[in-house]
Symmetry: C2
Subunit: 430 residues, 2 copies
């Protein structure tokens, strides 16, 4: 049915994932050919440092210093971009590959979160396939599930824990009763953090991923700038313990849903029930939850990063191309993706609040008044003994909007009895 000539790859970027892809193409050459009906070979590679020992023999492959040169070589059919970065060489070489009529497989969430629409349009105009399974949730074949397997559904909501480093930090804080800073340093020493840690702990990396899932789910143009981002830096061990005490875990959770007011995309710490699949997710594992009007809820769990899982996702895309799959990057023609109206968290929820209250008469009454004026009613409240000049107060609200919470937070700042910024965390009953 499809082409039987070998499919020739050019791989740009030889970090762990690039090396993982090389290893799979060698170890499983026979299996890949049996499954796709054609050989998949690597013709050429590019990376910054040719001399570096990567534990894999590079002699069989032509070397290019410049990924753009690699992308346009006559002897490659698929350009595999594993360099990362939203601009620079990654963007230039992907554009060059598309212009040269090469298919593109990338693991680069930042590139697609920022330039997905223009790249998808270029791919469509050039008649090539641009795929990115490895960019979201590592080894979990979630792009495929959403774009293909569940294509008959109107997707109602997509949720996910998609940054393994944040999940590691949060679960480790809980298990070892350690403060954020200590666990952050541990994660750094273990090499879990991006060069710019904000990408991880600021929720940016996970936000990139959510914006890509949103586009497929709702047929909208990728709009990363509209993702409400909140990182995990302000989560304290006290928040984690309080949450646990009430039967919850704190996760950096992404939620995307189409509401009457527009597309809601948020990536922020949330309390989720401890007994739920999301609540039980430990360490670097990722989980994506997809809800569709026919299928109900589908939950997918797996390793969110690492050589093997990410290379597995890259190879899934490559083998699809070898089999002759033709599909639009975001599941429908790029020209038909609509700009979405961004909506701020419109779906009300209970919220967890923590603040440091100064030891002044009537302090708590002032807090209660501010909440009441914002239309927020209190479900539970706890005040702890004064160790210092302030005492921590924990409040769980009844269901309210984020708008009301923001009004209350602004009001609390003006009471003169709350020190610093209160922490507000949404409770997601997933």
């Amino acid at each position: 049915m499809s082409n039987s000539a070998p499919l020739r790859l050019g791989i740009a970027g030889l970090g762990t994932v690039g090396v993982g892809v090389l290893r799979i193409t060698r170890k499983h050459a026979k299996l890949i050919e049996e499954r796709t009906g054609r050989a998949v070979t690597v013709t050429a590679v590019a990376a910054r440092n040719r001399a570096k020992d990567r534990g894999v023999d590079l002699k069989p492959y032509a070397w290019e210093d410049d990924p753009v040169q690699l992308a346009t070589r006559d002897d490659i059919d698929v350009f595999v971009e594993l360099m990362g970065g939203s601009d620079g060489p990654a963007k230039a070489s992907v554009e060059a590959a598309i212009a040269a009529g090469k298919h593109v497989v990338t693991a680069n969430k930042a590139l697609l979160a920022h330039h997905g629409q223009e790249l998808a349009e270029a791919a469509e105009a050039a008649g090539i396939v641009l795929r990115f399974e490895a960019a979201v949730a590592g080894g979990i074949p979630v792009i495929k599930a959403l774009t293909e397997g569940l294509a008959g559904n109107e997707i109602t909501r997509v949720m996910g824990v998609m940054n393994g480093t944040c999940n590691y930090i949060l679960t480790r804080m809980y298990a070892a009763e350690l403060p954020y800073d200590v666990v952050f340093d541990e994660a750094d020493k273990l090499g879990y953090l991006e060069a710019d840690p904000q990408l991880d702990v600021g929720g940016i990396d996970a936000g990139h991923k959510l914006s890509l899932l949103s586009s497929i789910a709702f047929g909208t143009q990728v709009n990363f700038d509209a993702v409400e981002l909140e990182g995990i830096e302000r989560i304290s061990i006290r928040d984690i313990e309080q949450a646990a005490d009430m039967g919850y875990r704190i996760k950096l959770l992404g939620v995307a849903q189409m509401t009457g007011r527009g597309l809601e995309q948020r990536m922020s710490p949330c309390l989720v029930p401890a007994a739920s699949p999301l609540g039980q997710l430990e360490g670097g594992t990722n989980m994506v939850v997809i809800e569709g009007d026919s299928v109900g809820q589908i939950v997918m769990r797996g390793a969110g990063a690492g050589e093997g899982p990410t290379a597995s996702a890259v190879m899934g895309d490559v083998m699809d191309i070898a089999r002759g799959l033709t599909i639009s990057t975001f599941g429908k023609a790029a020209s038909k993706l609509k700009p979405a109206t961004p909506a701020k968290a419109t779906v009300p929820a209970a919220h967890y609040l923590r603040m440091e209250l100064l030891d002044k008469p009537g302090a708590l009454a002032k807090v209660a008044t501010v909440l009441g004026e914002a239309g927020i009613s209190i479900n539970r409240m706890r005040q702890y003994g004064h160790e210092e000049k302030t005492a921590p107060v924990i409040i769980v609200t009844h269901t309210c909007t984020r708008e009301a919470i923001d009004t209350a937070l602004a009001g609390l700042g003006k009471t003169g009895v709350v020190e610093g910024d209160p922490v507000a965390i949404r409770i997601e009953e997933v």
Copy 2:
């Protein structure tokens, strides 16, 4: 890239799933066309009873009494087989569709478990696509994940809870502390059971599904006859309570893995850790676990049956065909699928044993002797008070082979101190 003429379906079987597919094609006509680039329409339908009110208007569709006639109509491109049954009209009409060059989408696990190899070969010879996502684990896009998304992996093990009725019965027995017979009758009244309940509680339906996953995972010809089948009929409330007491749940679990001795496929009740994803699976939900050499472990969870989820899976296949996907039925050319050597549970495990011991002097010693002679050492043992003339004895063994367990079971029957057949359940540390 692909055909833009409407894709025309002929649907045979208008039970809940067939009606569900009709509903989706109507409700989501625009969404489907946007996603696939072509309209997907239903031309004709066939079912046993034309007069029956199915809550959906059938006037837009041509009617055929005979599914074979439907399968060969000039005005259909895809034959959607939703009648069920391993032979009879289902087989005849699928064969006719393939011979007439129509693509086939089916939800029929029994048909493929028994005739998958010959049908895949016929599909290949005819150059058509034969797909069956809806046949395994309802709405979970697991066939797609295994065949496509994880295609770059050597699959090491596939596991799954894939019969919602059995999982309903087992979780309900536990939650309500009710005996098997009572819950079986409940399930029957709720319409959860197949016309022949053995298909469910005997593990046959789930075994069919496992044999299909095995074929894709290991590149082997479907061999349902080699699945070691054991149903849930002999699981007592006592077993469930004992298991819970030790931190386990009892699930009808399918496991397929390639071992040094051959392909092991078993569908049987197992004890799994209560805190594991499989242990926490409740009611009619299905879960499939796929383990690959690169990806590690992928877990997928969702509704295993019902109109919406199953129709969602059918539509996934239909939309793949609309997009021009060409892929072999079991993930590689049917002619290249190898017959697998069946291996009986070769991977050792701890086992749970329950037997009714007669109140005779030295009875327990005899049991211990038989186990010892079979090479089985005891991890824990409990004997309960004699309520009747027999007393239940619960034993948890150290790791041993199934062969040793079978030897012991035969030996126990000859001791003269054990009444009836002991229950032996494998403990799977998933």
